[in-house]
Symmetry: none
Subunit: 223 residues, 4 copies
Amino acid sequence: MTAPTDRPASRPLRKDAVRNRALLIDAAREVFADRGLEASLDDIAHRAGLGVGTAYRHFANKHELAEAIFAEAIDRVIELAEHGAEAPDPWTGIVTFLEGTAEMQTADRGLREVLMGVHDPERMERVNDRLSPPMRRMIERGKQAGQIRPDVEVTDLGIVVLMLCTVADVTGDAAPDLWRRYLPMLLDGLRTGTDLPVPPVPEDVLRKAMDSHKRRLAKLSQR
Amino acid sequence: MTAPTDRPASRPLRKDAVRNRALLIDAAREVFADRGLEASLDDIAHRAGLGVGTAYRHFANKHELAEAIFAEAIDRVIELAEHGAEAPDPWTGIVTFLEGTAEMQTADRGLREVLMGVHDPERMERVNDRLSPPMRRMIERGKQAGQIRPDVEVTDLGIVVLMLCTVADVTGDAAPDLWRRYLPMLLDGLRTGTDLPVPPVPEDVLRKAMDSHKRRLAKLSQR
Amino acid sequence: MTAPTDRPASRPLRKDAVRNRALLIDAAREVFADRGLEASLDDIAHRAGLGVGTAYRHFANKHELAEAIFAEAIDRVIELAEHGAEAPDPWTGIVTFLEGTAEMQTADRGLREVLMGVHDPERMERVNDRLSPPMRRMIERGKQAGQIRPDVEVTDLGIVVLMLCTVADVTGDAAPDLWRRYLPMLLDGLRTGTDLPVPPVPEDVLRKAMDSHKRRLAKLSQR
Amino acid sequence: MTAPTDRPASRPLRKDAVRNRALLIDAAREVFADRGLEASLDDIAHRAGLGVGTAYRHFANKHELAEAIFAEAIDRVIELAEHGAEAPDPWTGIVTFLEGTAEMQTADRGLREVLMGVHDPERMERVNDRLSPPMRRMIERGKQAGQIRPDVEVTDLGIVVLMLCTVADVTGDAAPDLWRRYLPMLLDGLRTGTDLPVPPVPEDVLRKAMDSHKRRLAKLSQR
DNA sequence: TATGAATGAGAGTTCATTCAT
DNA sequence: AATGAATGAACTCTCATTCAT
């Protein structure tokens, strides 16, 4: 019997177990921040002052640990999207969403990697399932308000985030705010600008593409 | 070292070595393109029809092999930059450079990864030394022609490439041309657009940042 | 040890313990029957609705738990032997004993494995101490009645059971009754048949042999 | 690239590699003999004075190593069957086959385990494919000569071997010849004897049964 | 010089057993 | 007394790198 990750609400976990789970998550955050998702569970466990087995009691595998760490962050990203979709002014909503997302990812390399895909594809699918609707709404509302060009699609929003994410990923601590320099460029692209020569990716195609991208990267963290 | 400098008629050995080096690089390109930088040296050597040992005669490391590939590709990127810097119309030069670079990276996953940074920082340094001047010229000429906004810097060009590169990396075979959709956005950003709220990164800062980024990623290939 | 010997009205605790012991044995039987002796104690405990720790309160080892099961089953086997030894017709007694034993083992994979030796040798010793006398009596009576050839020994009976047991073990659910096909062969062997070219094993030799056999197999369950 | 087990005849393996392969096989034989098939590859490699990696260069996994060790022995068992099938007197052929097989298994615990099924089911399948025809011929010829009762089937022969094998497995070194005592019993069963109350297993059913038996046991050696 | 065999650290994972709650 | 969290050794397998042939 493994991976109690989603215990439906059964027994509320012993006090020391709670503490150790927290220790593990803290340690994982630190270690992942230091050395990225390729760090070994052994290292994480020992940084937490615990044995490997304990890590495996709490998380079925590395994947789940990473998930646990970033679940919360992902929740907040989704919240950001939902807020963005409900903002009084659609355009402001989009800008706020993109800024917020980029800010979060700037602050946390682990999160960046996770959102860029070094992760379990299936769980990612679910994340996308939650992220798509508000993003779609943002776009729709922007179009209706004449703020977004008609040929923009949901996937464009995702790609924009991705590009900003890359900037943050590369500049890292050295220039943590550089992405802000490119945000307006991309916003302009969404809003006006010259014609876009290539049509957007259909959403399912993008998902599949990202899946295989992730699957590849995932091997790294799985080992 | 046996009778080194001057082997009158028996240079064929040298030729063999050259051929093997080429075979290795080709094989590495193929294998990396297929399976990314996590492919094993064994696989690469065998794809080249050689033994692992031979690979190690030519390259001290998996690192160096990747570098070699990088080197060749970078040579072509630098050529592209130099052509771009000499184009009759500065703006066209820039566009052509960016398109060419992105095209190259689209075609080869390994190259993408390598250019995105899984690499030896020092060699990268030298690459930048060669890439900077033409890129700087492109920008300067563009500014003089009034085609590029005055606050754009060399580093911006690099970042733009990086962002396009990410698009290609994620969409992969599923939508190999999608990056073209975002190129105009970013070109617009370079040309006109709203103000850029954050100043560009000084070049040395970016270099350092990318260095550490690379160092982190490099661990993957080192294993 | 708190106020041990004499707890006047509060014996319920003791009752609980008895119940839990039974629960564990039942669960172990089921799980072992399903998945063999390689099942984990965790699984068994949970099937019993108890914690692992509780299992360890009752049984020092996975060993001992298996023993406990063995013990109960062996009790029944011994009963079978005793009945067989007292049957009005000696031959019928033997046949009934062999059939009954084989039937029991057919029904329960765990029991089969346990009786085939994955077990603590010392406890086994004691089992043999109890099993030998009735088996010996069966043989003696059979000989006196002229139903059993004179050179048959107690150990032969054990070996015959073992052979039938193997048949059941291998055919499993696919042909749970196949062993019945071979029982008459072996019965014939006990009764008449050509000369047996090799003398029977002295009982102590067989015991030692089985001991080491068991010791080897026991490692499997010890892990 | 792994498991050169069946290299078609490519390069003939380096001299030291041949030596090490032999060392590994010897070590495996010893270790398996000592501690059974559950011994770890690590242990075997070190007993051979080699690193684990070397073991994995020669054999894709534990299975293949065991196979390699017993491949030869299995070949000899099959030869025995083929000789048995061609003996001038059918009955003598059968007896010789059974005796020979039992003798071989008596001498080698590892072989016993392998033939009893602690092994890769698929390869076992192939063994059976080679063993069935001669065994079938033995039976057919025996029946035609009136030496074998008409309701005996190929599977019976296999089961008989199995039973003898068990005897040898349990008595081990203590009474290595005891199985000979039971061979005549079973031979009588094949030849005359009382009616067999249960029909023989169809061959495919037995195979499936043994497969699942093996699969279960295989887990032990696979870990 | 080229080869590929050998190495061994290291990764992920499991589970019998102990021990704090 | 019962629980289940913690432990860590053990196991299989991979791969960058070295070195004998």
